[in-house]
């Protein structure tokens, strides 16, 4: 069991997935609370045209990925609580995937240097990347703490919040910017699937299990980190992909929490 910690790549993987788990658990809680999981999903994917487009004009694919995700985050945030929001997001999502394909079409050479940005690998993380990840987590969590109060107010009682002078559009946009940064940075390190799975399932499970907001955020973070670590251990011993275990444990947690709360209600 402990032999796996002799490997630097496993130590880095545990550290990185804990950091991503903390950010994803906290950001995901608000995302699920606000019913914006689809927006999160879309943000995780708009990086594709960003990465391929940037490499095409000679910029760093990572820069393009971040720029596109940020722009999409601001766009989705400005949509606010409007009806048909999901339709608009869906159209932007498909448009961006289409744009990505168009950019790939213009490549006259191998596009691997652009597309490899999109597929992170939790087992291939260097120690320096762990430090970058930690710095980005601190910024994200600090920003989230700053807007937590108005964000919560705007999420739970939008009409009242607006009447009390909370700028719903501004709060919603700032929140989506936070989600965008968290997704863009974490995607290229651990992959789209992992970020998104860690953002939704733990938060949804926590919402089932807890009442208060603070308790909810803490439980969501704990579940996310527990799932990420358990998945690494399971992957190490079975040699199956880590992403599979993260998604499977996430689904299992959510289903059992749902069943438990139903039993309690009955």
């Amino acid at each position: 069991m402990l032999t796996m910690l002799e490997y630097e790549f496993m130590r880095n993987a545990f550290a990185a997935s804990a950091i991503v788990g903390i950010v994803a658990g906290a950001v995901g809680y608000f995302l699920v609370l606000r019913g914006q999981t689809f927006a999160g999903h879309a943000l995780a994917h708009v990086g594709f045209p960003g990465a391929t487009g940037a490499a095409l004009v000679g910029l760093s694919p990572f820069f393009g990925l971040t720029a596109f995700t940020l722009a999409a985050g601001i766009g989705i945030g400005l949509l606010g609580e409007r009806a048909h929001r999901d339709v608009a997001i869906g159209i932007v999502l498909t448009l961006s995937l289409g744009l990505g394909l168009l950019f790939l079409h213009f490549y006259t050479t191998n596009a691997a240097q652009a597309t490899s940005v999109l597929f992170g690998n939790v087992l291939g993380i260097g120690f320096r990347t762990v430090l970058v990840l930690a710095a980005m987590a601190i910024v994200t969590l600090a920003a989230l703490t700053l807007i937590a109060r108005p964000l919560l107010f705007a999420s739970l009682q939008p009409e009242l919040a607006e009447a009390k002078g909370v700028n719903l559009e501004l709060v919603s946009t700032l929140f989506m910017v936070i989600v965008a940064v968290a997704t863009a940075e974490a995607t290229q390190i651990v992959g789209v699937l992992l970020v998104f799975a860690l953002m939704v399932a733990p938060a949804a499970t926590a919402l089932h299990l807890t009442r208060g907001v603070l308790a909810g955020v803490v439980v969501s973070i704990l579940i996310a980190v527990a799932i990420a670590w358990a998945s690494l251990v399971l992957a190490y011993f079975t040699d199956w992909p880590t992403s599979f275990f993260i998604t499977a444990l996430g689904a299992l947690g959510y289903l059992s929490a749902g069943a438990a709360s139903r039993l309690r209600a009955a």
Binding site: T3, E6, Y7, E8, F9, M10, N12, A13, L101, L104, H105, Y107, T108, T109, N110, A111, A112, Q113, T115, S116, N121, L123, G124, I125, G126, F127, A235, Y236, D239, W240, P241, T242, S243
Partner: protein, 292 residues
């Protein structure tokens, strides 16, 4: 029977052994792709333990996802060999995830002066594998000077056998240089170039390689080259076939274009020499049959 038994015991015990248990006995070499692993096997002989990560010719190397055992093998390796030029970016990540001063990386792209964006199927360039073999030979001598004579003899033997293949390539080039050929993917590109062929439909191939769709114009040009007899051979990647490829193969066969399947990784039970010789032989046979 003995070595087999030993291997079985080692295989069963592998999960319980910690990092670097064999380091003292044999130099552990991890190759990202099995043809580089075969170079290591031929140069190192019994003095090296070789692990090839991509060796199943039936799996698409582009869709490969690294597993913990792969990461472990790289972490424990003394020498890693990989292609570079954007072909195996996961290998670079795995190497950076386990910092070890004692590990040497031999990168084919660096040895041949190619960079990201170039056609990444470098091993089909006849100069690549001998260059990798020389770099590996030098590194093995440095690490294990006791067996210098073995390494040098193996390197000489390998170089000679590759020179033989080089002669076969020159023969085909002399007889059929300038022949127009086409391919569904740029896998065989460097070898076709070495054989002196003129490759048609390059843009179509790039699009397929990048998982972008070829445009209608590119498809029309491709089909035209098969139908009007300009392309004499259609090379296809027999590890990655889909409906679009099947369709083109059908058109090629209808129009008496020779169809030759090439593989991205080395098929099981082959060596580099037999693999290359087989493919060059198939090309020669197809062209000779057309000449009659």
């Amino acid at each position: 029977m003995r070595p087999l038994l030993f291997a079985a015991v080692m295989l069963a015990a592998a999960p319980f052994l910690s990092a670097g248990a064999f380091a003292a006995d044999r130099v552990s070499v991890v190759a990202a792709e099995n043809f580089y692993g075969d170079v290591a096997r031929q140069i190192g002989g019994d003095h090296v333990a070789v692990t090839s990560i991509l060796s199943n010719p039936d799996e698409d190397p582009h869709l490969f996802e690294t597993s913990p055992s792969t990461a472990r093998a790289v972490a424990d390796a003394g020498i890693v060999i990989y292609n570079g030029a954007g072909y195996d970016p996961w290998m670079e990540k795995l190497v950076s995830a386990s910092s070890a001063d004692s590990r040497t990386a031999i990168v084919a792209a660096a040895l041949t002066g190619r960079k990201a964006g170039d056609n990444p199927h470098l091993w089909y360039d006849p100069a690549t594998l001998p260059a990798v073999a020389r770099a590996l030979g030098g590194e093995l001598v440095r690490r294990d000077p006791e067996n210098t004579a073995d390494y040098e003899a193996n390197l000489a033997k390998f170089t000679l056998s590759m020179e033989k293949i080089g002669k076969e390539i020159a023969n085909v080039r002399k007889a059929y240089g300038g022949t127009e050929v086409t391919a569904t993917e740029p896998v065989f590109g460097y070898m076709a170039e070495a054989l002196g062929f003129k490759m048609l439909n390059g843009k179509f191939q790039t699009a397929v390689m990048n998982d972008a769709e070829p445009t209608p114009k590119q498809v029309i040009a491709f089909e035209k080259s098969l139908k009007d007899g300009s392309a004499k051979i259609l090379f296809y990647n027999s590890q990655v076939t889909d409906q679009a490829t099947e369709r083109l193969l059908g058109i090629a066969k209808e129009n008496k274009v020779s169809v030759i399947g090439v593989t991205e990784t080395m098929p099981a039970g082959q060596t580099i020499q037999s693999w290359f010789a087989g493919q060059i032989g198939a090309v020669e046979k197809a062209l000779a049959a057309r000449a009659q």
